[in-house]
């Protein structure tokens, strides 16, 4: 069957990619000169102490042994232990990830909705003033650095309309009384609204341009003329015959740009002091907390692979011509 075969192949490809990513992740951090132990500079860091530490961290074993140990612990879901607070890496990363994910989802929704709307309108009104305006806006926002958009959002939106500009939770919440679930959710949404908006604006431009050109191509197809001859009205032509075909490149683009979205998130979380995965990575770099860094990289890699896998399945669902 077309479906089962395809899913099996794609799953296999995704798993293979994960394995390669894990291996690269291991090699990359070992390729850096020195180790967590040689980097230590402290009064009581004697040779004996360092040797003991190497023993404890397993750094005195051969690369191959380290690799198999790494794989083994990964298979058990053990990402290692943080150098700084000695909690497990997963404990360190769980909360930031949970903070970042909803922000990313909302940002993606904002950018896709804005991008598709702008692109479709532009394509449909090609060459008119609204098309030119749209295209220029999209190009401009595409070209703007995300952190700069973030600063502008803080200046012109947050301060004017009273949105919080830092953190993820109102510190006064829950001091006087236990807040209701709704209050907590509303507070969370207020905090992630602006980072998500910033990221969404930073991304929408590219989507709008892609949707515009893809929609223009689709609207020039014979089946669109056929649809008009069949008596379909403009809206239905775009909705039933244009959009789905024009969306195909966008599905791939969103999946491919997921890595970029995460990178954008790192910068934006810094601007908004949003305690997400981006801020966690920055802190880990500051403190040379290699296990956390390594764990974060690995999880991000998994996320990118996962979303590409989802895009593949979606593409398959959307386009009956895709076989294997």
């Amino acid at each position: 069957m077309r479906g089962a075969d395809y899913v099996i192949r794609r799953t296999g490809a995704a798993l293979l990619t994960v394995f390669v990513a894990v291996t690269l992740n291991f090699v990359l951090f070992r390729a850096v000169p020195g180790s967590a132990v040689t980097a230590l500079r402290c009064f009581h860091c004697t040779k004996q102490f360092k040797a003991a530490l190497e023993q404890e961290l397993g750094l005195n074993q051969s690369m191959w042994q380290q690799y198999t140990i790494y794989l083994g612990s990964l298979a058990e879901g053990d990402l290692g232990t943080s150098f700084t607070d000695h909690r497990s890496v997963w404990q360190n990363l769980k909360e930031p990830i949970m903070n970042t994910l909803p922000m990313l989802v909302i940002a993606t929704v904002i950018s896709v909705v804005m991008g598709v709307a702008a692109g479709v309108v532009s394509a449909w009104r090609r060459g008119t003033r609204i098309d030119r305006l749209n295209t220029w806006a999209a190009l401009s926002f595409y070209a703007m650095p995300t952190q700069w958009i973030g600063l502008m959002v803080v200046f012109y939106i947050a301060l004017r309309f009273g949105f919080p500009v830092a953190g993820i939770r109102d510190p006064t919440l829950g001091i006087l009384e236990e807040p209701s679930t709704w209050t907590v959710i509303a507070d969370r949404l207020r905090h992630l609204a602006l980072p998500a908006l910033t990221l969404g604006i930073g991304l929408y431009g590219e989507y709008a341009l892609i949707v515009r050109s893809s929609m223009l191509e689709t609207l020039g197809e014979d089946y669109v003329l056929t649809a008009r001859a069949k008596g379909l009205k403009n809206f239905n032509i775009v909705w039933r015959h244009g959009l789905r075909n024009a969306m195909l490149p966008l599905v791939t683009l969103i999946a491919l740009s997921f890595g970029y979205i995460l990178a954008g998130a790192i910068v934006i979380e810094e601007v908004f002091s949003y305690p997400g995965i981006g801020l966690a990575v920055i802190n880990a770099i500051d403190q040379r907390d290699y296990p956390v860094l390594q764990g974060a990289f690995l999880l991000l890699t998994f996320a990118v692979i996962f979303f590409n896998f989802v895009a593949d399945l979606l593409y398959f669902k959307l386009d009956p011509r895709v076989t294997a």
């Binding site: 197809e221 014979d222 075909n245 009956p320 011509r321």
Partner: protein, 326 residues
């Protein structure tokens, strides 16, 4: 031919395209009429305005085109009120088969659904009834009914064109406008599709306009042919009359430029190129290429008039012939 009036009557149709380089007068006063069950071949070189004319009839030209003239469907002018008067007739009364057999269907939707779409749109059938109708149409054009749920890429070129014809028949139209329906197909499939069109027009009393640059196709399919040149009608008459007794030099040269398997003569090409349509044409548009041009041709445009029973042409030579016989 029925005794009732024509199903489709086109009068003095003009089309201008507003292009960056200026205005292009693509169709310059085309008139023809078509009765139920009649098959008209619309022939001419590329760019002579054949496709533009039929797209204009049903209001399908792009926004940069302006149209003048009258198109009567059963004696009602459908272009009169613009989009609002022409839209209800699309597909319901006047359906089309396009050149791109490969691309007339949306690649991501099932063929059956796409055929049912106009029925639901024009409320001729819906749901299960529409599906029954699709199966019926499939049988009519010779496709196995179990293929209704297939996607376009699973059909061969010929089958896709059959399906396109089935789709055109979905709402029982009176007029079928076929724009080069066989160009993309190989000769065997081409013959089958033409045969199908002839058979359907006879069985259903369908008036057919077949746009093509392929004269043998017209000879094989249509009782009547109209020849277009530079946006104008130059000759209109029974196909046999046009072949044996052309009343316009262009028609004659067009036939001699067509390869014939049994003929002994050489193929003659017509020297020169058609005139530019973005500037006014003085005199007969064909005159610079005509082998029989004479005094009035460069200055006076010949009117499109009846020169014999059911035979019209636009050429000064016919006036001379007429004078001689008088």
């Amino acid at each position: 031919m029925s005794t009732r009036g024509p199903v489709l009557r086109v009068e003095d149709l003009h089309v201008w395209f507003d292009l960056p380089g200026g205005e292009l007068h693509a169709v310059q006063g085309v008139s023809f009429e078509l009765h139920a069950g009649e098959r008209l071949g619309l022939v001419g070189e590329s760019g002579c305005g054949k496709t533009t004319s039929i797209l204009a009839c049903i209001g399908l030209l792009p926004p940069n085109a302006s149209v003048a003239g009258r198109v009567y469907l059963n004696d009602r002018d459908i272009l009169e009120g613009g989009e609002s008067t022409v839209a209800p007739h699309r597909w319901k009364d006047v359906a089309m088969v396009f050149q791109g057999a490969m691309n007339a269907f949306n690649p991501v939707k099932r063929i059956g659904d796409q055929i049912a779409e106009p029925m639901e749109l024009h409320r001729t059938a819906k749901g299960r009834a529409a599906r029954t109708r699709v199966v019926e149409l499939f049988e009519m054009v010779g496709i196995a009914p179990e293929r209704v749920d297939r996607y376009p890429h699973e059909f061969s070129g010929g089958m896709r064109q059959r399906a396109a014809i089935a789709m055109a028949l979905a709402c029982n139209p009176q007029v079928l406008l076929a724009d080069e329906p066989t160009t993309a197909l190989d000769v065997m499939v081409q013959a089958q599709i033409l045969e199908l069109l002839v058979q359907l027009s006879e069985e259903l009393g369908l008036a057919l306009v077949l746009v093509t640059h392929d004269l043998p196709v017209v000879a094989q399919t249509c009782g009547r042919a109209a020849v277009m040149y530079a946006g104008r009608m130059v000759e209109d008459g029974a196909t046999t009359d046009l072949y044996h007794d052309p009343k316009h030099p262009y028609t004659r040269l067009l036939f001699s430029a067509t390869p014939d398997l049994y003929a002994q003569e050489h193929i003659v090409s017509i020297p020169g190129v058609p005139p530019r349509l973005d500037r006014d044409i003085v005199g007969c548009p064909f005159q610079p290429r005509c082998d029989r041009a004479f005094a009035p041709c460069p200055t006076i445009a010949p009117p499109f008039v009846t020169v014999a029973p059911r035979h019209a042409a636009a050429c000064h030579l016919n006036d001379v012939a007429l004078e001689r016989t008088q």
